[in-house]
Structures are given as structure tokens and as C-alpha cells.
Amino acid sequence: MKNWGFKISQARIIDLDKANTKMFEDLCLKVPSAKRCIMCGGCSATCTASNHTNFNFRNCNLMFRRGQFEGLAEELDKCMLCGKCKLVCPRGVNTRAIIYNMRIILNKMNYKNIEL
């Protein structure tokens, strides 16, 4: 086949007809407060890890909620579980437990083998 120098790029769309949002439901069974997040960004503003990396907990949580798991496990590895985010959250979301349980769920889904 002739190479035209173009290739099909992955769709840049969240397709909620196909996305796996069941995983977020599973996460909420473990950490019910996950549902309460209103994406204010208080957590990521105060995050110690984000001083040195591009880690963004709010975004990870949102991607997980929308069933977008690609690269998420690597992102979560940047968190040091210090829990500062939990102190500022106005909705009382258990942020540390969310990270920990997201890691477990992603591990089970074989998105990446993470040492727990």
C-alpha cells in the first residue's frame, strides 16, 4: 500500500456510549466520598507532588470517572500519598483512599502492574 505520510489518529473524544464508567461505580463502593467531588481544584493547588511533576489529582479523578484509563496508572504513581489534599477538600473527599483504590482497580484491569 502506498504510504501517503498520513495515519489514522486516535479519536480525541470521550465516548460515553463506549467508555467504561462501571469502574468508577466500583471505586465509589470503596470510597463513597468520591462522588462528592465538584472539581474545585483545591487538592491539586495544594499538592506537594505537583510542585515537581505534572501530577493532577483532580484530573486523574475526572478521567477515571469518565472511563479514560490510558496512562492513568503512571500518573497515579507520582502521588506520594501525603494527604495534604484531603485537608483542603471542601467536600470532605477521601482523596488518599481514592488514589489507593484507583491503583488497585487499574492493577486488576491490567492497565499496569503496580506494586501495592
Binding site: I38, M39, C40, G41, G42, C43, S44, A45, T46, C47, S50, N56, R58, N59, L87, V88, C89, P90, R91, G92
Partner: protein, 340 residues
């Protein structure tokens, strides 16, 4: 029939408006205020949203109507007890003086959230972190400056201080702070068009008439910059500026900036009087506010016969809402007095 009486506790917007309406109908009103001056929280504001109407004019119009011979005003009287005994509502002040009447109206209103409780925002620690009330006071004098007396080149307003915050125990939205921030940012830019005004928000709740229009105008005319993110930390720099950290949630990136003045939009909480008198009569609702019998048509009556509610002792309300609510309460009280 006409020598029946009512005690109104709290001479703010609701108390004064209700007193006028009840007295007009020929009943005796005892209006009791804990402070020296009448007007309640309205005294703290220079101009009102969304039309920049003079707060002083609203206050004076209310107070001027109080000269009816049916109204007795007692200022500097803090009511500490309110109860029903011997077929009368009895209010007792801190000097043990008693006021008796056939009905009682609670208009004990609100107080603003104590910003010191959000320690991470540095109020009471750093000079240039102020509350929206302090901004209002400065605006009254026509001079908005930093503590050092300089014109702020950059000012930031932070919404939801003490509202929508589980950490301070207030889950509710105070409703008026969003539009108040828009108003204050516009006022600031009106005085200092060359300075920059930023507004940090979680949601902009522009649910009142002409609120959205004022929000638009603040963007178009005053170039107020809105950033969706909650400020989670504030710290002073060596030159007395305030460095703030938030996430710019719409770009997904952490954001920091230095401002000359940080204004905390403090939320509405039940006043001590509201909390105290409502608990004594077992009509205390959530967050220390007083609880009416129901929202639909019985919002001014309570489970206690002859005890009525109006205004912000029930929940956060705007001034027009408070006036309407006070008129509604007056109507209910007149009906009640006619029956007994």
C-alpha cells in the same frame, strides 16, 4: 381588638419592614435591637447588587417609616430569652427587663463567617488579606488601599469562604457572595481602571434577575478576570503582598500569583441571637438557622403558636427577598392577631 401587640426582635431590614406593616394596621409593635443603630447588616454596605443602589437610602427609607405612634423602638437591648407564658410572649433582655406581647416575630438575622477559621487563607495573620465587609468599609471611604497605604495593582476575590465547605461545617451556599464579588470587582475597577481584578470561583451562581448581566458587564467593561479554582493557600511575601495558589481547573494546570490585596467573600451564618432564641423555642433548624413550619405557604409561621419568622434568621436571603418575606410575615401576624 386594636390594642393587641407584637414584639419584634432585631431591627434589621426584616424587623423594620415588618414593624412598619404591622403598625400601619393599628397594632402595637415593640421593636427591639441589640445595637445602638438600627438597620442590622444593611449598615455594613455602601451599594447594593445588582444595580448599585445606595444601601444608605434603603436603610433611611425603612427607618423613616418607624415614626408611627404604634411603634416603640428599644435599641441597645439584647434579648437573651424568649418564651410563651401566661398567654403572652415574653422577651427578656440582658438586664432582666421583660417585654410582653401577644405575638413574637424573630428577625434576628445573620452574621458573616469568621474568616479566621480558614487559617490557610491567612486572615488575621497577613495584613493584606481582608474580608468582603472590610472591602465594603474601604469603598465607603472612597479609598481602597493596602494596609501600607498603596493602591492595589492587583486584587483577587475568593468566593465560598465559609460556604459550601465541609471543613467548617457549612454545606450550604450563601447565595449572595458570588454576585457580591462581581459587584465589588466592578466597583474596584471603576475606581482603579488600570489595576487588575481577579475572581476565583468554584461555580458562578448568577441566579438573580440582572446578576448575569452584571457578570457580563464586569467582563466586557471592567475586564475582571475569572478563574475557576479554589484558592487553597495564601502566604505573605517579603514586600507584604499575598501569594496565592489555586488550580486553574479549566486548563488543568496549577496556578500561582501574587496580589496586593486578597478579599475573602465571607458567607452567611446564623447570628448568635438567631441560634439562641430558636433553640430555646425548639425551632432550630440546620446550621443554627431558625426553622419555619414549611416552605410552601407556611414559611413565616413556626411550630410554636404566635411565634413568627422573617428574613435571614431562616436562611441566606437578598435584601429584596428579605423585604418581601417581612411583608409576608406581617400579613400572617395580622391574621393571627385578628383571630385571638
Amino acid at each position: 381588638m386594636k390594642n393587641k401587640s407584637v414584639i419584634i426582635i432585631g431591627a434589621g431590614v426584616a424587623g423594620i419592614e415588618a414593624a412598619n406593616n404591622i403598625a400601619e394596621n393599628g397594632y402595637n409593635v415593640t421593636l427591639i435591637e441589640k445595637e445602638n443603630l438600627l438597620g442590622g447588616n444593611l449598615k455594613n454596605y455602601a451599594k447594593l447588587f445588582p444595580d448599585f443602589y445606595e444601601a444608605g437610602e434603603v436603610k433611611n427609607n425603612l427607618i423613616n417609616k418607624l415614626n408611627s405612634e404604634n411603634i416603640n423602638v428599644y435599641n441597645n437591648n439584647e434579648i437573651t430569652e424568649l418564651f410563651f407564658e401566661n398567654n403572652k410572649w415574653q422577651a427578656v433582655n440582658s438586664q432582666n427587663q421583660k417585654f410582653l406581647a401577644d405575638a413574637a416575630l424573630l428577625t434576628t438575622g445573620f452574621t458573616v463567617f469568621d474568616a479566621k477559621r480558614k487559617e490557610e487563607l491567612g486572615y488575621g495573620i497577613y495584613d493584606n488579606v481582608i474580608t468582603s465587609l472590610e472591602f465594603e468599609n474601604m469603598y465607603k471611604t472612597g479609598k481602597i488601599t493596602t494596609k501600607q497605604g498603596n493602591i492595589p495593582e492587583r486584587i483577587a476575590f475568593l468566593n465560598c469562604v465559609g460556604s459550601r465547605d465541609e471543613k467548617v461545617g457549612n454545606h450550604y451556599c450563601s447565595r449572595v457572595c458570588c454576585i457580591n464579588a462581581v459587584k465589588q470587582a466592578s466597583e474596584f475597577k471603576e475606581i482603579y481602571p488600570d489595576s487588575q481584578a481577579y475572581c476565583f470561583y468554584m461555580d458562578m451562581r448568577m441566579a438573580g434577575q440582572f446578576y448575569e448581566e452584571l457578570y457580563r458587564k464586569s467582563q466586557e467593561k471592567h475586564n475582571v478576570i475569572y478563574i475557576r479554582g479554589r484558592i487553597s493557600e495564601a502566604a505573605a511575601t517579603l514586600d507584604n503582598k499575598i501569594q496565592i495558589k489555586s488550580e486553574d481547573t479549566l486548563s488543568g494546570l496549577p496556578l500561582k500569583m501574587t496580589v496586593d490585596l486578597l478579599v475573602l467573600m465571607v458567607g452567611i451564618e446564623a447570628s448568635i441571637g438567631t441560634n439562641q432564641l430558636a433553640s430555646q423555642n425548639e425551632i432550630n433548624g440546620e446550621y443554627g438557622f431558625a426553622k419555619s413550619k414549611g416552605l410552601y405557604g407556611n414559611d413565616n409561621i413556626t411550630n410554636k403558636k404566635g411565634l413568627f419568622l422573617a428574613g435571614t434568621c431562616k436562611r441566606p436571603l437578598t435584601i429584596p427577598e428579605t423585604i418581601a418575606d417581612a411583608k409576608a410575615a406581617a400579613n400572617q401576624i395580622i391574621k393571627y392577631l385578628n383571630q385571638i
